[in-house]
């Protein structure tokens, strides 16, 4: 709530709002008091993630279900904007009303979207800022009805999402309302990399499910899908240059064609979400040998990939070259985690190769990672690697490397101290497959912990929630991901101060419960917030807003 120093009204309104809070909290604890119904959702608007600057009033405005769209600016004519508008109209106007529309005048009938730039390239660091103004047109206001203004189409998408969260269906009048108007919102993300990892190797996820996940990411303004496509259990992706690779899929049906992958990338782009593919080498690659057994050091020792053969690197080149046509995101994840070199040092042919090249197992690990990085760099990709590579040979890594922390805390501080960029995914707090991490632990983690120098803080690109698939498949991936991924989303989008100030545990909990119910109303199977263990059923009957 940013008040212009000379205008006291927003401050007064803020204090009125603040004084209502205890009443609202008290009323939430009453199971069945007739008055509590009046407070629930009636006078409070929750936006998740919290915008960086906003002010509001005390008016209630009715929105026309035939809301029209007017676009302007060089990027206004974009198909991305038009499609998003249609999508959000379905979300906002979900309830049908048979009430006669004749003679009903709505306060808001038009949405203006102004997009300054015609450039639709989606990359890391694209301008996602926007301003959102909601006001009734009258003689005093020059603003008009709803206006979203942004530099890029992706900022406009973020603005549309916020707008959809300001709108609520009023069961009394059976119309869609915006409460606490007028709204003046200026918003932009704290971090440019706000990711979610999906693992389609431990369990194949059908395209439809991946799309559901991407759609739900857009509701929380997450913007990178880290697609961990392949691992030791299965190789589901088509690689035209090496067509036997996907024999490593679980079955012929549990596969993605190149066109399927393009479809996913395009679906994500329409929502302003980048797709970062990962080809994890040299460990976590047992499935590669199902189609090409030469890649295994030996039939009884199948991981890591055989470092002694040029064939191994030809295959990696082929995979990356094929994927270059499908994944335009500038970052490419090369894995490099959990490499146990026993199969190299014990298999005679590889052992010989190591001796010939005067390498220990660890030297070979370094050699492998660096050679893979060179292949990615030749395809104009910036490599991302799991932190073990940094921990083991920091001085040898390609200086452009982005270090992906996962093993614990304290890693990003070390990486940025050496000038590397970093992504935060500390498994103690942001690994979603760890079911015993409650929402508050997720929420209070911070990617910048331990880094005080402002210039070093800039090197932390952001963070990522990781939804590993050992025990998550199409039947439960969404309720394992949500609502905890929302806690990550706000930590990465909202200003540290506004997300952490005041009695945040109570405020954040109520806001997260509200957001979780919003997700379920949009068809996302988000689990109860207050359960200690993730993805458990609700403990008993009750309102969505209290579970």
């Amino acid at each position: 709530m940013n008040a212009d120093a000379s205008n006291p009204i927003p401050t007064i309104i803020f204090f009125i709002y603040l004084s209502f809070f205890p009443l609202i909290i008290a009323s939430r604890n009453l199971k069945h008091s007739s008055n509590s119904q009046l407070y629930d959702d009636d006078s409070i608007t929750y936006i998740w993630p919290l915008p960086s600057e906003f002010s509001f009033g005390n008016q209630t405005l009715a929105v026309d279900p035939n809301l029209s769209l007017a676009v302007s600016g060089h990027g206004g004519g974009s198909a991305i904007v038009k499609e998003a508008f249609e999508r959000y109209k379905l979300i906002i106007f979900k309830h049908h009303s048979k009430l006669s529309k004749f003679g009903v005048s709505y306060d808001i009938e038009k949405l203006n979207v102004i997009v300054h730039s015609a450039n639709e390239e989606l990359q890391l660091g694209v301008d996602e800022s926007y301003s959102l103004l909601v006001d009734k047109r009258d003689e005093h206001s020059i603003i008009g009805e709803i206006t979203i203004e942004a530099n890029s189409v992706y900022g406009a998408l973020r603005g549309l999402e916020t707008l959809s969260q300001l709108c609520a269906f009023d069961y009394g009048t059976k119309t869609v309302q915006v409460y606490k108007a007028p709204w003046y919102i200026q918003d932009k993300p704290r971090f440019e990399y706000r990711g979610l990892l999906l693992d389609t190797s431990r369990h194949y996820l059908p395209i439809d499910i991946i799309k559901q996940v991407i759609e739900s990411m857009s509701y929380a303004k997450l913007n990178v899908l880290h697609w961990h496509i392949i691992d030791e259990e299965s190789f589901p992706l088509e690689v035209p240059t090496y067509p036997n690779l996907w024999k490593g899929a679980y079955t012929k049906w549990e596969r993605y064609t190149m066109e399927d992958a393009s479809e996913v990338v395009n679906f994500a782009k329409m929502r302003g979400i980048n797709v970062m593919a990962e080809v994890d080498v040299p460990g976590h690659a047992k499935s590669w040998g199902v189609g090409y057994p030469d890649l295994w050091p030996s039939p009884s020792c199948k991981e890591p990939l055989d470092v002694s053969k040029n064939f191994t690197f030809n295959v990696i080149s082929g995979i990356l070259a094929d994927m270059r046509k499908v994944f335009p995101f500038k970052l490419f994840h090369l894995g490099g985690d959990e490499v146990h070199t026993d199969c190299w040092t014990s298999t005679p042919s590889v052992k010989q190769w190591l001796q010939d090249h005067n390498m220990t197992g660890n030297d070979a690990y370094q050699y492998f990672v660096l050679r893979a990085q060179k292949i990615a760099a030749s395809l104009k990709w910036t490599p991302v690697n799991w932190e073990e590579t940094f921990n083991t040979f920091p001085t040898k890594l390609n200086p452009q490397t982005i270090v992906h922390n996962w093993l614990g805390s304290g890693v990003c501080p070390k990486a940025v101290a050496k000038g590397f960029r970093c992504i935060f995914s500390n498994q103690g707090v942001w690994y979603l497959d760890h079911l015993d991490v409650p929402w508050s632990t997720v929420y209070y983690a911070d990617p910048l912990e331990g880094i005080t120098d402002a210039s070093k803080q800039k090197l932390v690109l952001g963070g990522e929630a990781c939804m590993w698939g050992e025990k998550a498949d199409a039947s439960n991936v969404q309720q394992t991901t949500w609502p905890r991924a929302a806690a990550v989303a706000e930590r990465l989008w909202s200003n540290k101060e506004s997300a952490s100030s005041g009695n945040t545990t109570l405020t954040a909990l109520h806001r997260l419960e509200y957001f979780r119910c919003l997700l379920t109303r949009r068809g996302v199977q988000a689990a109860p917030v207050t359960n200690f263990y993730a993805r458990r059923p609700p403990t008993g009957p009750g309102s969505c807003y209290e579970q």
Binding site: K174, S201, P206, D208, I209, E263, D473, S475, N476, W482
Partner: protein
């Protein structure tokens, strides 16, 4: 490693492929539920780009678009699994399936208990201008035929097109029982509209045809009753409610998929939430269940509810609950006869999805795949039901994976209901 290694791997793969393709023979037919009579061959056809719907000779006018929408939905669901990227000019034109020809005898789209849901599905193997044929008495039989058709279509990973294997197909099918239901409970937890619609969609995949909507109970009263507008003050919160238009929308959405909606208003027990808006319904303020039998107002209110219901719910049955009543007999049938509803005591032939521990986050994986087992028992003739559990497991696993492909969060077969998968693995093995 050498030759021997390569050979043994190749043989292993071959065996694996054979085992998987064996899943497609007669005993392991991957159609769920199993039709009454099925015959098929060994040929293949592919679906063309402009796969179309023909209705020449059909008596059903489709003025409300139920058939057209049903056809488009089936095509979408079949195409959603992978991107079609076939080079059609390379295909043999005599193997092209141009469309589906549907002939319906009855012009009526009235959906009720006991309507004719039978259909015949024929897919030829060769000829010129190939069309699949569905013949049905009613539009709802035709929708079942389209559903079966969607289950014999598969994406072919080599040609990147949708193919139908094992043509020619001759299927004559009809359900064993006219009432094949699923109960959902929206009182213990509010289920958003979108979730209910997803459940309805998934019911149609298993040919279930009655949604028993247990709308209200002790914990909450989420439905708008225009005659008694304070009743929905008993909802958990202002937004955990269904307007009367929401209810009509559910009925319409279901009807367009051949699914009846059986509304339940459980009386006199399980009705604590009614008194939030009308406290005189409670026997007393410390004894709130069952509804006060001595008060004429109670029965006026029930009349009001049933009267409002009759404008929305078209099914000829209505469920009046009557369970777990902690007091002596109550006779209410005399009060409701005049509305023309039939009240029948049912033998429960459906699946009940009670909502104490089910909300929007876990309803799909609690229902599926177990409800599919019931669905087959209610659809397939007794003699056709597979007797060997091993046969069923394979087919049910396949149906579960089909549900996942269609975006339904159906749980693994292994373990108790809605269990997480124990470990990494193929969908077909869990």
């Amino acid at each position: 490693m050498g030759q021997k290694g390569v050979q043994s791997i190749f043989l292993g793969l071959l065996l694996y492929v054979l085992v998987i393709s064996a899943a497609a023979d007669v005993k392991h037919l991957n159609i769920w539920p199993m039709p009454k009579q099925v015959n098929h061959g060994h040929g293949s056809l592919y679906l063309g780009n402009d796969f179309e719907l023909k209705t020449d000779g059909s008596k059903y006018p489709d003025s409300s678009g139920i058939l057209k929408d049903g056809f488009l939905r089936i095509i979408d669901v079949v195409k959603a699994t992978h991107v079609i990227d076939a080079n059609f000019s390379h295909f043999n034109p005599s193997r092209l399936l141009k469309g589906i020809h549907i002939v319906i005898s009855s012009p009526s789209d009235e959906l009720q208990h006991g309507i004719d849901e039978s259909y015949k599905l024929n897919i030829p193997a060769h000829g010129t201008l190939l069309y699949a044929h569905i013949e049905a008495q009613t539009i709802y039989g035709a929708l079942h035929g389209l559903q079966t058709f969607s289950q014999v279509c598969h994406f072919n990973i080599t040609t990147r097109a949708i193919v139908v294997h094992q043509v020619p197909w001759t299927i004559v099918d009809q359900p064993r029982f006219p009432y094949r239901g699923l109960l959902i409970d929206t009182s213990r937890h509010y289920q958003p509209l979108l979730m209910i619609k997803k459940v309805i969609d998934s019911m149609s995949y298993a040919k279930l045809n009655v949604l028993h909507w247990h709308i209200v109970d002790s914990q909450s009263f989420p439905l708008e009753i225009p005659s008694y507008p304070k009743l929905w003050d008993g909802a958990y919160s202002i937004s955990e409610r269904y307007t009367i238009e929401d209810a009509a929308e559910i009925v319409s959405y279901a009807q367009r998929r051949g699914i009846n909606v059986l509304a339940e208003i459980d009386v006199p027990g399980h009705a604590l939430s009614w008194g939030i808006g009308y406290p005189s319904l409670w026997p007393s303020t410390d004894c709130k269940e069952p509804l006060d039998v001595s008060n004429e107002f109670t029965f006026n209110l029930i009349d009001g509810i049933l009267s409002d219901f009759s404008k929305i719910f078209k099914y000829k049955f209505i469920h009046l609950g009557g369970d777990e009543v902690n007091s002596s007999k109550i006779s209410i049938s005399s009060n409701v006869h005049f509305l023309g509803c039939r009240i029948v005591i049912f033998i429960c032939s459906y699946v009940c999805m009670w909502g104490e521990h089910i909300d929007a986050s876990d309803i799909e994986q609690t229902i599926w795949p177990r409800a599919a087992a019931a669905a087959e028992r209610l659809w397939t003739p007794y003699n056709n039901l597979p007797k060997d559990p091993a046969q069923v497991a394979g087919r049910l696993a396949h149906f579960r994976c089909l549900l996942n492909q269609r975006g339904v969060a159906a749980a693994p077969l292994a373990g108790p209901g809605r269990a997480a998968p124990e470990e990494p693995g193929s969908c077909h093995m869990q």
